[in-house]
Amino acid sequence: MSKIIVLVGSVRKGGNTEALARAFANGAGQRHDVELVSVADYHIHPCLGCNRCYTSEGHRCFRQDDMVTIYGKLMEAEIVVVASPVYFYGISAQLKTLVDRLHTPMRNDFRIRKLGLILVGAATLPDLFDPILLQYRMILRFFRLEDIGTVLVNGAKEKGDVLQGDGLKRAFEMGSTLA
């Protein structure tokens, strides 16, 4: 049994990203301990690039905001799944804030071995997910993480749109097939 954290990058409660994250959690929850961490529930400031965390005691960030809680959760995680709406061919700014704050030596103590990706786009453009997939592959390579898979859903704009199509099924299966 692995500890899994799903980082949900949408501020819309009950939106398509959250629905897919929950479907994944339902699948993975059969064998693993899964927790959803939604950016909507935490107040996080952007990274200032000051690098004070490189020299501070315990690599503590000078900004003692809700990121402290998230660092604690990630410290326990073995698998992380990133779930985000696609905004301007990138992950949401809220989730990018969280990701930027992971530029800390604290991450050397993380036990994360595997990474997964769930993306939802309102548009149906063929190249919608390409930039994020390029970034995702760089992160897998840099941190030598195993890819547990990706669930990409396009054409989902209004709440509940994701109920159409097989997105929820694919997200569930990504979770249920996780060894």
Partner: protein, 225 residues
């Protein structure tokens, strides 16, 4: 021309912005431009809520009342927009990404298909007259793959902007490295002059700007000492 510079560095002393500053100096050599430098770190920009209230409103503004609407006004008025920022986790720093996410009020929900098959939202602004330049610095010694995601993202968001991605930019903050940093700043100034005159940069110029200042081995040695 009206030039809007979006300085997305969170630092007051930005290495990347030194490059942008040199570029602007070069641009101003060809003509006197109206330059508006906006330091995003000083602005209050909430993240997009994905509510699409802007599309319901349809006046090119966001329903959230903070500093973004003033940026949108500058954005639609500009002839040239320079996005200047360091690479953070293979993308833009989050507070600049918040600015980009919240440019969505400048388009409508309605979609149009171009002759070449590409699909885009119908715009409230004539984006074809806005020229975009991306100047991005990175702390890595070489950039194989590091800028790929960002480049692809900017290409699709801005329609083939001029992009200059520079490795080893922390050297600009090291006095001893002036011997290699100053020539790079001079090249940026010259490139700014070229851009001011032609609103484009040659592949040769971009290659000269993106060339690492020192070898990867030397750079790693310097960082670790």
């Amino acid at each position: 021309m009206k030039i809007l510079v979006l300085n997305g560095s969170p630092k007051v002393k930005s290495d990347t912005f030194r490059l942008t500053d040199a570029f602007l100096k070069g641009m101003n050599r060809s003509a006197e431009h109206e330059v508006h430098i906006l330091h995003v770190r000083e602005k209050k920009i909430a993240p997009c809520r994905g509510c699409f209230g802007c599309w319901a409103r349809g006046d090119g503004h966001c329903v959230i009342k903070d500093d973004q609407n003033a940026i949108l006004d500058l954005y639609r008025d500009a002839d040239v927009i320079i996005w200047s920022f360091p690479l953070y986790c293979y993308g833009m720093p989050s507070h600049l990404k918040a600015v980009l996410d919240r440019t969505i009020p400048l388009v409508k929900m309605k979609m149009v298909q171009e002759a070449d098959g590409t699909v885009r939202h119908e715009a409230l602004v004539d984006f074809s007259r806005i020229h975009t330049v991306i100047i991005c610095g990175c702390g890595f010694p070489h950039w194989e793959g590091n800028f790929d995601g960002l480049k692809q993202m900017c290409k699709t968001c801005f329609g083939n902007p001029e992009m200059v991605c520079v490795p080893e930019t922390p050297l600009l903050n090291v006095p001893e490295a002036a011997v290699v940093a100053d020539p790079l700043l001079a090249r940026f100034e010259k490139a700014g002059e070229e851009y001011g005159a032609a609103l484009s940069l040659s592949d040769k110029t971009i290659a000269e700007l993106e060339k690492p200042m020192i070898s990867a081995e030397e750079y790693i040695r310097q960082v670790n000492s």
